[in-house]
């Protein structure tokens, strides 16, 4: 990235050598002062190339700067151009006449840019998700990302490199507000002082994500003070900081010039309500190219979501490369191109971590496993999965193609163990796995002789459901053992795993089948189901993903109903120490990368605010901020869906 930008700068801008020198010197000075920068320097440099590396780093800050003088656009006689007025408790309203006809007696509450109006208007401005407390000034100050500096003195050394990566995302996010080009060069320095207490860089549901953010402007110098326990809190603060910036370009403008305005004074204190704020993406029904997955992570970061639940496999396909068991993709991927290589997975995990997102890989089992598991006989391992692609499918699975792992075949656990080892190698410690565990069809196992024979041996009564429940529970305990072995081999402590709710997790059954110290139950029953509360009462850690409200695929098949962002937002969750949070689910039977963004965003953002802030205020008071967040996602390259006619976004409170 650095070198590209270096080229871009060299190629296009009229940046004179003097300026270069300035940056060089600046960085040398910083090298003297901050161990942090030295660290990067050393990292990036090879032997005597220190100087060039410095230049490259300078270039990172220098993204797409252009000094070309923009020709003054002469106002066309019939140019539509509107201005926006901040009205207390309502939001931003478009003026009733194009501004060319207005006398220029604009008060401080009238703005050319809708985005700027939103950024300062209302108690929480344009922030999403809403912080706990915020005091945001009405004044703004012009800034340029080139003059953004990060003071990392008070970041513990062990957390430094990750923190540096996190700071690198701020510049591009600011530039995105101007579609990549800030034409107005201002040299006001913006120094972000990061104060992080903990050197711990693990991201779990006990990670402290709280932060404080303080923006002050004094005599042409802007200081931003960020205080957080962990770098993840600090990262969230950086996201909030970026949301205090807006472009001064009017809505639907055709003008080229663009400058960035930062709120000149703000004080924000913030922390999440729930520690688990997730998004599930199914990449088995359709393969979703890695670039689209990464973009989805960008969207999560913009909404302070912190768990990417990757439903990577299912009966349909197995796109996850396992270096230990390459047969999975060879028998399970849609094509050689539709595979997530181990290398890509590692990159994804790092990419997510830098954005405060933990990747939780789900290997669904024992049901929802088929393609990718057919090779057992060929390798003399017997049938690893049964009912695979069997037709007719009606009694054997929830949807074609069918497939369930074969719990009678002990080789299954060895193969699973190898796959788990790959996952432990890939994810940061402490490793967290989602084992799936939903929708087992007894009929599939019941029609497989090998399995009924095995049940006889084990004294499981195959004529009753309970017999199969025992078999099913046995599967999970053996799979958990394989996981524990994989985790132990890597030298990290045992962790609970995640499991979908199912017949096995019914309140009357769960205690004898699943240890509450070892399993976190993800409850996907509809809102009307008592299961979630029952499990919380029983002392199980739970995550909620009510299918009738927070499933993003609903409304396009069968009799299911679509939930718009308002409905998703309106759903509230219990508060309990055993209750971790919730997530939205993007199942991909009827969606692939072509329509992915619009299906997920901005609805997932609505849930993100529910999980982060859990506000008591109505959905209507959130709408102006939601409009802003939708626009922000679009600026950052996510094709978020429209939530109303554009007229409504130009007239807050007029469309209710």
């Amino acid at each position: 990235m650095g070198s590209d930008q270096l080229d871009a700068v060299n190629g296009t801008s009229g940046l004179n050598p003097k300026k270069w020198r300035f940056f060089l010197e600046l960085y040398v000075i910083m090298t003297m002062e901050y161990s942090s920068v030295l660290l990067i320097t050393i990292r990036a440099s090879m032997a005597g190339l220190c100087r060039w590396a410095l230049l490259a780093i300078a270039a990172v800050q220098l993204v797409a700067c252009s000094e070309n003088v923009v020709e003054e656009v002469v106002a066309h006689t019939y140019e539509p151009s509107w201005r926006y007025k901040c009205i207390a408790d309502e939001g931003c309203e478009r003026t009733t006449h194009p501004s060319s006809e207005l006398a220029s007696n604009a008060s401080s509450l009238v703005f050319n840019s809708l985005d700027v109006c939103r950024t300062v208007c209302g108690r929480f401005g344009g922030l999403w998700p809403r912080p706990i407390t915020a005091a945001i000034g009405m004044q703004t100050v012009k800034i340029h990302p080139n003059y953004l500096r990060f003071d990392l003195q008070n970041v513990p050394a062990d957390a430094l490199s990750l923190m540096v990566e996190m700071t690198k995302l701020v510049g591009p996010n600011l530039l995105a507000e101007c579609d990549g080009v800030v034409t107005d060069m201002v040299e006001t320095p913006v120094v972000v002082y990061l104060n992080v207490k903990s050197a711990d860089i693990t991201l779990t549901w006990s990670t402290d994500e709280e932060y404080m953010l303080d923006v002050q402007t004094k005599e042409d110098q802007i200081s931003v003070h960020i205080t957080a326990t962990t770098i993840y809190g600090a990262r969230h603060a950086l996201e909030t900081f970026a949301q205090l910036v807006a472009s001064d370009r009017p809505d639907f403008s055709d003008q080229h010039s663009c400058s960035l305005l930062l709120v000149s004074g703000a004080k924000i204190r913030d922390r999440p309500t729930y520690p688990y704020r997730g998004l599930l993406l199914d990449t088995s029904r359709h393969f979703i190219p890695m670039e689209d997955v990464l973009r989805t992570i960008d969207g999560m970061a913009a909404n302070k979501m912190n768990v990417f639940h990757w439903h990577v496999t299912d009966t349909h396909s197995f796109p996850l490369e396992s270096t230990r068991v390459p047969q999975f993709t060879r028998y399970g991927a849609y094509s050689a191109k539709e595979i997530y290589s181990a290398e890509e997975v590692r990159k994804l995990i790092t990419y997510a971590q830098v954005r405060g997102v933990r990747v939780v890989i789900e290997i669904d089992s024992p049901a929802h496993a088929g393609n990718g598991w057919q090779w057992g006989p060929e390798y003399n391992l017997g049938d690893l999965a049964v009912c695979v692609n069997q037709w007719p499918w009606r009694h054997l699975c929830v949807q074609p193609p069918c497939g369930q792992l074969n719990p009678a075949n002990q080789a299954v656990y060895r193969v699973l163990g190898d796959l788990y080892k790959d996952i432990v190698d890939a994810v940061p410690a402490p490793a967290l796995l989602h084992m799936g565990g939903d929708e087992v069809y007894i009929e599939c196992w019941n029609t497989t002789e090998e399995i009924t024979e095995y049940m006889k041996q084990q004294n499981y009564d195959s004529s009753t459901t309970e017999g199969f429940i025992k078999l099913w529970a046995e599967f999970h305990s053996k799979a958990l053992k394989a996981w524990d072995e994989a985790v132990e081999a890597a030298g990290t402590p045992k962790q609970p795993v995640m499991l979908w709710s199912s017949e096995l997790t019914q309140a009357a059954r769960i205690a004898q089948n699943l240890d509450k110290e070892r399993y976190v139950i993800e409850v996907w029953e509809p809102v009307s189901s008592p299961l979630l509360h029952q499990l919380i009462k029983l002392g199980y850690k739970t995550v909620s993903i009510p299918k009738d409200v927070w499933y993003l695929d609903r409304g396009f098949w069968g009799t299911t109903k679509y939930n718009n962002w308002r409905k998703m937002y309106a759903h509230t969750l219990p508060r309990d120490e055993n209750f971790l949070g919730g997530e939205v689910a993007m199942w991909t039977e009827y969606i692939d990368e072509q329509g992915l963004d619009t299906r997920i965003w901005p609805r997932a953002a609505a849930v993100a605010e529910r999980l982060w802030s859990d506000p008591t205020a109505s959905v209507y008071s959130a709408e102006p901020r939601m409009q802003r967040q939708r626009g922000r996602l679009i600026k950052r390259g996510l094709a978020a869906d429209a939530i109303s006619p554009a007229w409504c976004s130009q007239h807050d409170s007029k469309c209710f």
Partner: protein
């Protein structure tokens, strides 16, 4: 591995500490560190090399039996068994066949929309190249038609080139031999006018046969539009075989084809949300791929007026969301030309007298009096169906002068003079009643419609267009329906097919275009964006519902009851209103559902959305993707790979 790993660990630790303490280091220390770093780098390289080597040998030891999947080799091969394509591991078959090729050769034709006349297709294939296609115009009624043919032919070739670009060069050469040239001979006997008109004969005949070392395709048609449909069909028997890395064509084909309905439309609303020109062009590409012929452009509404007209630039100035959300006359001309070469007419609707807004609020300043009433009046629920409100002032003669100028410019821009859309839906009687308490608002509405028709007649050089469409409304119900000019007025019926008034229009013998909200509204099913109600239309309309909706089959019943004349259904249109849609989501919302409607209107076969339709639509979706249209999938990818297992 463990030894080198430990060394590396120690080195890292030392390095970390060193850096930690050097916060106020001198330059000389940096130099020392640099030396240390060199050493460190060397150590790291050694370690990495060692690791890499070990990794390699480990991998080799674990490498499974199949070397087949390494590199870019395809994994699956499809075999046609019992008239269906089955997916097999490539290792299990002797021949490697791609899904695309299997689909083309196994049982079903992959044409969309399905032709209405006799079709025979060869099951043998020949490799071809886009560059190997040449056009020969054997007969053409005009220079204009010849030029259009040449350009449309180039468009077809460009689509093929686009497919060729998806081929991966490292693929194994095909076993299909050297590519053949294709000579396309076209004869148009009929209309000298290349435009899509109400009376355009869109039928065509395509024959393709091998001749020595090449192939010869003959297309005969009675209009340019028919001939370009022939190109479209020809392009559908050409496909990219990903395993061969080459275009293939069926070596012989005969297709005789003509549409069942003459009006096959898609409405896009660019007022609720603005769509850049590129989005519109791409939508027209997709329409052309499905032989749809009418792009119904609902350009303005109460929310915005993005069309800059030379005859009334004030409308866009006061009505557009911003200067970047405006269609200039040049934009419109570009869209019209783009559409024309693809057999699509642009029906530009400036809705009136309701569905107008701020764009019309400049009258008093300009000395023209109030052009519109109730603009952005609140509470909106009292004066219109959705915010903001607004309705033209039917008593202001300047309104009709303006309309005349607008209509003239629309006709001049779109070059469509036999068909016009006046809008005319959802008038709020309450709004007008506030201002004109002396007259029944319905009478005002009738009067408005009559005067707007006169303005249109003047705008069109003294001739009323053959078909002037109005949205169905209270005006198109008895007793007002009888007072409309049945000779020219047609009704676009948007009400539910179950509403009696929707049938009444048909029974009364009005020419009609059907857009039943319960079947062909693409915007339904996304919940309510305004507070008042739970959305004006119910659940999402699936492509199957769109496909299976055949309201005209009820005509027989109405005739036997003696209710009226034979129905005059010109065709139908899918409607994409955009209250909850913006650029970025357009393609996946509209496609492939509008394609389903396209086949309903073109072929209108009695069959519902059965297996054959799934397969062909899945193929058509792949074609749309190849043309850059981001159509949504019909089902999980596995089902495309194993088509019959999901049906």
């Amino acid at each position: 591995m463990s030894v080198s790993g430990a060394q590396l660990g120690v080195a890292m630790k030392w390095w970390g500490e060193g850096v930690g303490r050097s916060a106020s280091a001198q330059l000389s220390r940096v130099a020392r560190m640099r030396r240390a770093l060199l050493l460190l780098a060397a150590a790291a390289c050694t370690a990495a090399a060692l690791l890499y080597w070990r990794q390699q040998s480990d991998d080799a030891a674990r490498r499974p039996l199949h070397a087949l999947y390494t590199g870019v080799e395809p994994q699956w091969s499809w075999v046609c068994r019992n008239l269906r394509c089955e997916r097999l591991l490539a290792s299990e078959t002797s021949t490697l066949q791609s899904l695309a090729t299997c689909n083309m050769l196994c049982d079903s034709t992959q044409l969309w929309p399905q032709p209405t006349g006799p079709v025979s297709l060869a099951t043998a294939v020949q490799p071809v190249r886009a560059a190997g296609f040449t056009l020969q115009v054997l007969a053409s009624p005009s220079r204009d038609v010849s030029d259009h043919l040449a350009e449309a032919f180039e468009l077809m070739k460009e689509d093929m080139r686009q497919l060729e670009r998806t081929a991966e060069p490292e693929r194994r050469a095909a076993d299909y031999g050297a590519p053949r040239d294709v000579l396309v001979r076209v004869a148009v006997n009929g209309s000298a006018d290349p435009r899509m008109r109400l009376d355009t004969d869109e039928s065509y005949k395509l024959t393709l046969r091998p001749a020595r070392n090449s192939l010869v395709a003959d297309i005969t048609a009675h209009s340019f539009c028919g001939a370009r449909h022939g190109f479209e069909t020809l392009s559908q028997i050409v496909w990219m075989d990903p395993y061969a890395g080459s275009l293939l064509i069926l070596e012989a084909a005969t297709v005789v084809d003509a549409p069942r309905f003459s009006y096959r439309g898609l409405l896009l609303d660019t007022a609720r949300n603005f769509f850049p020109t590129a989005e519109i062009l791409r939508t027209i590409d997709a329409m052309a791929a499905c032989k749809m012929n009418t792009f119904h452009w609902h350009v303005s509404d109460s929310q915005s007026f993005p069309l800059r007209l030379d005859s009334a630039p004030q409308l866009a100035q006061h009505g557009a969301y911003g200067p970047g959300a405006v269609y200039s006359p040049d934009d419109v001309r570009a869209i019209v030309r783009h559409a024309r070469l693809r057999g699509v007419r642009v029906l530009l609707e400036v809705d009136a007298p309701a569905h107008v807004g701020r764009a019309w609020a400049w009258g008093p300043q300009a000395g023209l009096g109030a052009l519109a009433h109730c603009v952005e009046l609140e509470p909106w629920a009292a004066y219109c169906g959705e915010p903001p409100c607004g309705q033209l002032n039917p008593r202001n003669p300047h309104v009709y002068n303006l309309l005349e100028r607008i209509y003239a410019e629309i006709i001049q821009l779109t070059e469509v003079d036999d068909l016009f859309h006046l809008g005319g839906d959802e008038v709020s009687e309450r709004c007008w009643a506030q201002h004109f308490n002396d007259t029944d608002p319905m009478e005002l509405w009738l009067e408005f419609t009559r005067r707007a028709m006169q303005a249109l007649e003047r705008a069109n050089g003294g001739r009323t267009p053959e078909l002037v469409l109005l949205w169905s409304s209270r005006l198109t119900r008895s007793p007002y329906l009888e007072r409309l000019d049945a000779a020219h007025v047609g009704v676009q019926v948007w009400g539910s097919s179950r509403w009696p008034e929707s049938r009444a229009v048909l029974d009364a013998g009005f020419r009609s275009v059907l857009s039943h909200v319960d079947a062909w509204y693409l915007d339904c099913g996304f919940g309510s964006w305004r507070d008042s109600s739970d959305g004006h239309c119910g659940p999402y309309r699936s492509w199957q519902q769109m496909y299976e909706h055949r309201p005209w089959t009820e005509e027989a019943g109405s005739l036997s009851s003696g209710a009226g004349q034979a129905w005059r259904v010109e065709g139908g249109a899918a409607c994409q209103w955009t209250e909850q849609l913006a650029p970025g989501g357009l393609d996946a919302r509209v496609w492939p559902r509008a394609a389903a409607l396209a086949e309903r209107l073109w072929a209108d076969r009695a069959e519902g959305a059965g297996a054959d339709v799934y397969l062909r639509l899945d193929t058509q979706r792949a074609r749309l993707l190849a043309r850059g249209v981001r159509a949504a999938p019909l089902w999980p990818r596995w089902c495309s790979h194993n088509p019959h297992a999901c049906l």
